[in-house]
């Protein structure tokens, strides 16, 4: 059962990602990007990462896709479609070579997987390890500063002078 779900999700995910790259209409590309974010959230659920799935839906499907769609609409009238540049062939060659290398190294490596069952509700465990002693408090503070800097940067850039 979970195998079937994974294969369906994998097909939809790769199809949506290809649609983002291939489609000429930028708005349709943005919509298939939203579909990609949703299927990735379901992939997190199959990996028993429930908190991360909710975070994915809140931030990516809720916030980032809205930002991208607003950007598409603000810049739409001047630019129709998303044509490829002059490096198209070399970009294709580079990505296929990188894909081959990565798939080869993944398949030929013997990963030391653990047979333990995963934690069932992950939210409490993630909160504990983020904020407890010897946890990730410092990265949390740094990302707070980073978010503040990003907000200030966006406001300063967009302000009319």
């Amino acid at each position: 059962m979970s195998n079937i779900i994974f294969w369906l999700l994998a097909i939809v995910t790769v199809g949506a990602a290809l649609a983002v790259v291939v489609l000429r209409d930028v708005f349709r590309a943005a919509l298939s990007l939203v579909l990609l974010f949703l299927t990735i959230a379901v992939l997190y659920i199959t990996l028993s990462a429930d908190f991360l799935a909710v975070v994915q839906i809140l931030i990516y499907v809720g916030a980032i896709s809205i930002l991208i769609i607003v950007a598409v609409m603000l810049t739409r009238d001047a630019w129709h479609g998303s044509p490829s540049g002059k490096f198209r062939i070399s970009a294709l060659v580079v990505s296929i070579l990188l894909l081959g290398t990565m798939v080869f190294s993944v398949v030929s490596t013997k990963w030391e997987t653990s047979g333990e069952p995963p934690l069932a509700p992950t939210t409490a465990a993630i909160g504990t390890s983020l904020f407890s002693q010897g946890g990730y408090v410092m990265p949390v503070e740094i990302s707070a500063v980073l978010l503040l800097a990003a907000i200030l940067g966006a406001i300063v850039l967009m302000r009319d002078k």
Partner: protein, 103 residues
Amino acid sequence: MEVGLNHYLVLSAMLFCIGLYGVLAKRNAVVILMCIEIMLNAVNIALVAFSRYVVPVFLTGQIIAIFVITMAADAAAVGIAIIITIYRRRESVDVDKFDLMKW
């Protein structure tokens, strides 16, 4: 065949390479930003898959994935602000015409 770590890693590699192709080949700046988001999501899938199959009870990969999501949101906000600012001045989102910093 039981779905395992390798399947998720190969899926993540495919998404990353699709995003890389888009970043390298496209000319619309907004589409390039979307492809960067695809690449970040691919990395997140790999992190969560490692966390699930290698250290199932420690959640290290999931925590790093949360920080990656934070930085992706930052990158999207600042990137779109930059794109719209350049669009106001140049009336274009074609990256081939973005030569403001060329000296």
